[in-house]
Amino acid sequence: MLQEPVIRARGLVKCFGALRAVEGVDFDVPPARCFGFLGPNGAGKTTTLKMLMGLADFDAGELSVLGFELPAQARAIRARVGLVPQGDNLDPDFTVRENLFMYARFFGLTRREVAGRVDELLEFANLTHKADARVDQLSGGMQRRLTIARALVNDPDIVVLDEPTSGLDPQMRHVIWGRLSELRARGVTLVLTTHYMEEAERLCDELVVMDHGRILDQGSPGELIRRHVEPDVIELRGEVSDGVFATLSSMSSRCERHGTAVYVYTGAPTVILDFLGEADGLTVIHRRAGLEDVFLHLTGRELRE
């Protein structure tokens, strides 16, 4: 993959007063891929997205999108990028179709230029039957689909999505994931933030894990899992005595106690499962290690508030 990155960040720093929200971040987003920012609340993900849209300035570093430099060429960048914000900000005074036409107009596109495109987008978002409904008559999932359709009205090269499926039910999340995969297959670059591990694992070709304004690591979901955690996890719920815990620690690569649960990370689960076969009153869950384990390993388990 020797293609030029569509987004290139070097040494990005962003401060809010004394708070350093983003602290020297470097990344390259390759074209026609889905690139994810994964991190707890306050990690600097949304701020990073705002910077690459030219909606937030930065204190140091270099940032270019589609060959345009920020902040000088922000308008040119926004003409080629679509944004799906965290909270829907559709226009409540307009119908579904009018929302799309009006948004096109902000890009300098006339009704005639986008008429065909608006029909396609309504189809894409499964909203053709709701085209003349008012926005407040739509369900949350429909509003989200309309917001995604709206972000495509300028036929963007990059679509930026800030937590695209938060607050949606599982069915709707799957529908939206399907639509986003379709976009990527058409050559659109997707950049998204999420704290749903499943979403990151399913959608993202490449991820950066962020916390406290820094990038902790980056790579494909598979690479990150191989690099940071053992392939198997055994989770124990219930009373685990210190003796058992000590034994588990010696048998595994890593063993952690969090609240009432114990997590055993290992490359050889069978011995441990055999050992645990004798333990009573414990719920034992054996599973493949996933991104969530990487995430918790890298960002810790303390609460973020």
Partner: protein
Amino acid sequence: MKRSIWQMPRARAAAFAVFARNFLVWRKLLGPAIVLNFGEPVIYLLGLGIGLGALVGDIGGLPYLVFLASGIVASSAMISVSFEGMYSVYTRMVPQKTFDAIMATPLDIDDIILGETVWAAFKGLLSAVAILIVAALLGAVPGGMMALWALPVVFLLGLAFAGPAIIMTAIADNYDFFNYYFVLVVTPMFMLSGVFFPIETLPGWMQTAVLILPLTHAIEVIRPLIVGEPVEHLFGHLAVLAGFAVVAYYVAVALVRRRLWD
């Protein structure tokens, strides 16, 4: 890399899309808008102009209804622009997040505020037109067709009042905050700028003081145009209004940037 909120605004023709958005919404709600635009002046002109006018007689050589109508044309534009610049702009900027949506397109805050300013002035113009029609039907527009020249002045007045209203919006935490501006700015101007009585009846120092108010200057131009008399110091008055419009637009852009930029 850091942007200054005070950098010169560079609004473009694209700002017209913001005006168009507001116009399309307004068109959907035309019924209530027309009731407001026509209903209010009819009540004012009939109640005060005819009722109070019978007691007052002539003012400055004009029947009171004529005097009042020419003042209300200006003051109702001021009030209409102020409402739009505060309650409506706040709604679009804060709860509705319409500005956030627009900022993700190639438009900047410079364009959004220009579109909102021109839109607010246009709404002021609409309310002035409604009053002029009502006044003409009541025979209170002796200037005849010359009164139409008052309309561009009303538009300029609207631009002058849109900026200060948007400035208030940029620093408001909620709708209640606008009470300060209405009580401390709009209402005093409404009472003291020559809408209901000539400023010459004020004490001397107050006559000088009201000259800092843009509404006073607007009325000094609008009244003679409606009445059909020559306008004195035309360019001086227009320059004051234009000055308010330009400076307030600039400050409004800066303060909205301060609020919406990260």
